[in-house]
Each structure stands twice: as C-alpha cells, then as structure tokens.
Symmetry: C4
Subunit: 187 residues, 4 copies
Amino acid sequence: MGRVEAFSDGVIAIILTIMVLDLKVPQQATVAALLGIWPTLLAYALSFLVVAIMWVNHHHELRTAKRPDAALLWSNNMLLFWMSLIPFVTRYLGDSHVAPLAVAVYAGELAMCCVAFFWLQSVLCQHNLGNEAMERQYRRMQAKAALSIGLYVLAVPLAFMSVRLAMGILILIPISYFLPDKELLEA
Amino acid sequence: MGRVEAFSDGVIAIILTIMVLDLKVPQQATVAALLGIWPTLLAYALSFLVVAIMWVNHHHELRTAKRPDAALLWSNNMLLFWMSLIPFVTRYLGDSHVAPLAVAVYAGELAMCCVAFFWLQSVLCQHNLGNEAMERQYRRMQAKAALSIGLYVLAVPLAFMSVRLAMGILILIPISYFLPDKELLEA
Amino acid sequence: MGRVEAFSDGVIAIILTIMVLDLKVPQQATVAALLGIWPTLLAYALSFLVVAIMWVNHHHELRTAKRPDAALLWSNNMLLFWMSLIPFVTRYLGDSHVAPLAVAVYAGELAMCCVAFFWLQSVLCQHNLGNEAMERQYRRMQAKAALSIGLYVLAVPLAFMSVRLAMGILILIPISYFLPDKELLEA
Amino acid sequence: MGRVEAFSDGVIAIILTIMVLDLKVPQQATVAALLGIWPTLLAYALSFLVVAIMWVNHHHELRTAKRPDAALLWSNNMLLFWMSLIPFVTRYLGDSHVAPLAVAVYAGELAMCCVAFFWLQSVLCQHNLGNEAMERQYRRMQAKAALSIGLYVLAVPLAFMSVRLAMGILILIPISYFLPDKELLEA
C-alpha cells in the first residue's frame, strides 16, 4: 500500500504545484495590470483549496485500504486522471475571465472528480466489510459525495444563467468539505 | 531498493502529470473552440492510460527485484528515459491533429518503451533464477512485451496508410495490458 | 505523520525546481544577451535560497509534531499555499527587471509565508506543551518569525522609495535564517 | 536521513523530467521538420544521461552519510542548486543549435555541479573518518571529481575554438562515470 499512497501523493503534489506555472505575470509593473489578473488568482486559490481538501480526504480514506488490488488501483487511477485535469480547467477559468462556458466546464470536471471519489469509497467500503462503524462512515461519505455531484451538475446549466450563482456553489462545496470527517479521523 | 522504487515513482508521477501543461486552453470560450481541441484531449487520455498501466506493471515487477545492482539501475533508467519522452510525442500527436507522421513517431516511441520493459524483465528474471514459477511468469510477460513491440512497429508504416487503423492498434494495446498479470499478483 | 512530511517535501521540491522553467534563454547566443538576463538569474538564486531555507526549517520543525490533526494539516497547507506562489512572484521580479511594484509584491508574499510559519509554529508549540525546552525554543522561533514579518512588511513601502534598500532587506533576511536553530537541532 | 534522501530524489526526479517540457514540437508534421530538432533532442539525451548518472552516484554516496547535520544539508542543497540549472543550460544548448557560447555555459554549469559533488564528498568523508576503506574510496572519488572539473573548465575556452571537440569532452565525461564505483557498491 505504501507505494500507492506515495505515488498518489506525488501526483497530487504535482497537480497542486504546477498550477502556479499558469499564473501569468502582468505585462506592465503597474497596480492596474496586477489587479487585472484577479480571475487567474481567484481560479488558482479556489483550485488550490479544492486539491488540498481532496488530498486531506484521500489521505484519511486510503489509510483504511487493506490491499492494493486491481479495483483499488484503478479507482485510484481514475481519481488521479480527473484530478490531473484540474490545472487545465483552472487555466480555462482564469484565461476566459470566468466566462459561463469555462465555469460550466470547471463544474463538470469537479463533478467527475466526485464520481471517482464515490467509486474509490465503494472499493474502500468493500475492504472494510464487517467493520460496522467503518461501513456506516463510508455510507455517510458517499451520501456527501453524491450531494456534491448533484450540486456540481446543477452548476453546469446555472453557469449560463448566472455566473455568480454558479461560482457561489463552486466556492461553497469545498468549504463544506473543509474538515475531514470526525468519525474517520478518530477511527 | 526503496530508493529506486521511490525515484521511479517520482519520475513516473511527474511524467503523468506534466502532460496537462500541454493541454492548450481554447482561445475563445465557445463550444466550437472547446470541441476543436479534441485531438489534444484524446492524446492526453491515451497517454495517461498508457503511463498509468506502465506504472501499475512497473509497481508489480519491481517488487520482485532482489538487489539494486547496476543492471537493474540502468535498465530502469533506460525505461524512464523512453517513458520521459511520452509527453513530447503526446504533444506532437495533439498539436499535429493526429497527423500520420506524429502517429508513427508515437508508435515508435512506445515500441522503445516496450523494449526497455523487455530488458528490465530480463534483469528481474535473472534476479529470480531458481524460482520456477517466477521464471515462467517472466517468460510469459516477455512474450507479451515482444508482441506489443511487434504491433507498435507494425503501426509505424501503417500510420502512413491508415491513421485510423494505426490509432486502433495504439488504443488496443494498452487495453490488453489493463490488468497486471494475475500470477504475478498472487506471487 | 510520514505522509504529511512526504507530501510537503514533494510540494516544496516541485516549487524549488519548476522555477527553472521561468529562466528564459537569451534570444541570441551572445555574451551581452546572456548578461542581460541577470535580473531573472538573481531572482532565481534568491528564491532558491529562500525555499531551501524554508525546507530545512520545515524539516526540523515538523519532526516535533505529535499527530496529524486538523490544525497541523491546515496550517501546513496554508504554508504550502503561500510558498506555492513564490515561483509566480519570482517570475514577476525577473520579468519586470526588479521593478519597485514587483519588489513590493515579492516582499508581501514572503511576509505571508512567514505568517503561515508563525501559525504552524503555534500549532507545533501546542503539540509540545509541557516540554519546557521545546516551548522556549518555539517562543524564540516565533519571535524571529515576527521580526521577519515586520521587516518584509517594511520592505513593501520601501521598494517604492529605494529598490536597492528593499532588495538589501530581502537578501539579508534569508541569510539570518541560514542555519536552523541550534537548540532545536540538538533536541 | 530518510527525508534528506527523499527530498533530493524528488528534486532530481523533477529536474530529470521537466526537461521534456522544453522539447519543442516541430511546427509541421514533416520528416524534415522532425530532423530539424536534432540539437534539442541531442541536448535532452545528454542531460538525461548526466542527471541519471548524478542520481545513481548521489544514491550510493548518501547511503554512507551518518547524520543530517548542517554541512551535509547545505552541501547537498548547493548540489541541488547547480543541478537545478541543468534544464536551463540544456534548453540554451538546444535553442541556440549548439552555439559555442551555449556549449561553454553548459560546460561551466556542469563544472559547478562537480565542485558541489566534491564538497559533498568532503562532508561524507568526514562522516566516515576512521573507516579507512571508506576514506580511501572518497579520496579516489574526489580525484575523479577534480579531473572532471578540470576537463569541464577546459571545455569552456575550447568551445570557442572547436564546438565538436568541446562536445566530445562533454559526452565522454558522463560515459566515464557510467558505473558507480565498485568498491563503494560493495561497501
């Protein structure tokens, strides 16, 4: 299991860090030019928070894995695949100055990340069959993941009606995930 | 051995993740512009799958290594060298909109990765001399690697006749590798 | 704790290394063109030193952590967030040829890194309550961090009066941090 | 020590891998355009070999370290600093189509890497005082490093007289390092 954790951590660390390469420096050294890059900075800060939260939750969840079987490796790889696209949709969000289509793509991308998390949680729940506290725990986390998927999917059409409302959802979801689930922490 | 595994994992994690830096954001926030980047997205998804499969197999194979000798270090470095070029040929495939020459270069590159895998497997087979089950196992894996080399080499001239057929081969090979060999898993 | 250290090391290693991607190669292969990129090289060398020092100190401090609780994870993530922006402000410093605004932004960014270090040190001090030598140690380190915050904040307005003086402060602070605190090393 | 090794491995893995980002894809999908990028490919392959050799030697040397003291941390950081510039000089070598000045800069950069290796070896020799076999071993390695420094320094003026001769030296030195020292391996 150690190598799966280490590999995932490596991939997530790189995802988290290379997003800074897309922060374009303002052409002129003026305050106006600096303020003009706010969409890129906002997109960067939001994605950093999202990836950091995913890492903390991934950290706690993977500790409950029992064996590096094919289901675990491939649900984990699927999660890493969708997470690896976060720098791309972040750049799109910033470069397009938070355009409706970019907000919709960003929301859809994060919905896929949550789907992958949901699958990984199913696999981990299987690993912990018989441990009732852990099963209950994973059912609660999957309910939370399902709710996030719903909200992210809702944000897709909403982006074309009101960018502000859609962005509000995109900002609220990570905040609701801010702390890893207490019961799992204590387990 | 721990440090060789960790270093390889680090290199593979970076290869897997930096490919997202080559996903160019569409200039305009329109659905047409977004759909226009499909060759880059296809190349990205294919290469992500290929590198993920290589990682899973490398993970299982390196666990059977007995000592970090020169043959192991350098066959492993050779593999990392050819794998490190995957982001380059991926970018070429996407930027050229799946041009015949780019498909041929991509196929040739992956053939070289398989050659390096074949060499690494020979070294690991040497490490496990006397263990009959393992030797048989490695002979089967090398037969599979040799078949892949043949198919990738075949895809090189085929790319200039039919891009679709060549791409079909490039997509089918990783699928045939999808699961690490069962016997090795159980070893 | 091992995974928190490994993840932080991964992020810091990437921050340290990707800054080289922003070192632009001179257009012409002449000595004049090579010398013309001195601001980028200076910014690179300064930031490499700053990140290396932060890594060494983070290395010594995190060894005193007792448990990966939420306070530790999030003060550490906050630190990584601010550190992750160092390549961005470094590029700004170099590309703007050490313009006053870029110097001020660089100083403000490093002030935020020190604030995050101060918070992380509070959390680690809490982890070591009852160990008097360690508590005294952390109080001294926090005093040093507070002094650095003050100097970095001072450098912000100073940059608009004298770029040289402000840069002098930015260069002196890392030198004063050069060696990790002796008492902690011996602890 | 584990964290110093892991951090160094992380930095070296990133250095090794991000160089591929500088391999520019030919504008047109023609064989002529592909062959036209040979200087970048040559520079990439040479630097990959150099960094891989440095990693293998670093791997064997750091195993003999006894404690993560300040001298070790900072000689190691100095080595990582000079190694981190390898992608920059590699890009310069490729982009300038192996211009004399770029060859000279490349040689000077690698000379600095060898100086840092020499310093690190002095520190490690200090760690192994009393172990005569190890001391003799480090003296031999330092003699080899000193010879490399001399040859790299020689290549600097030579580049302006004959690019081929200078490149010959740059290619021969890594080959002479190809295998880690046998005695150290057996220690």
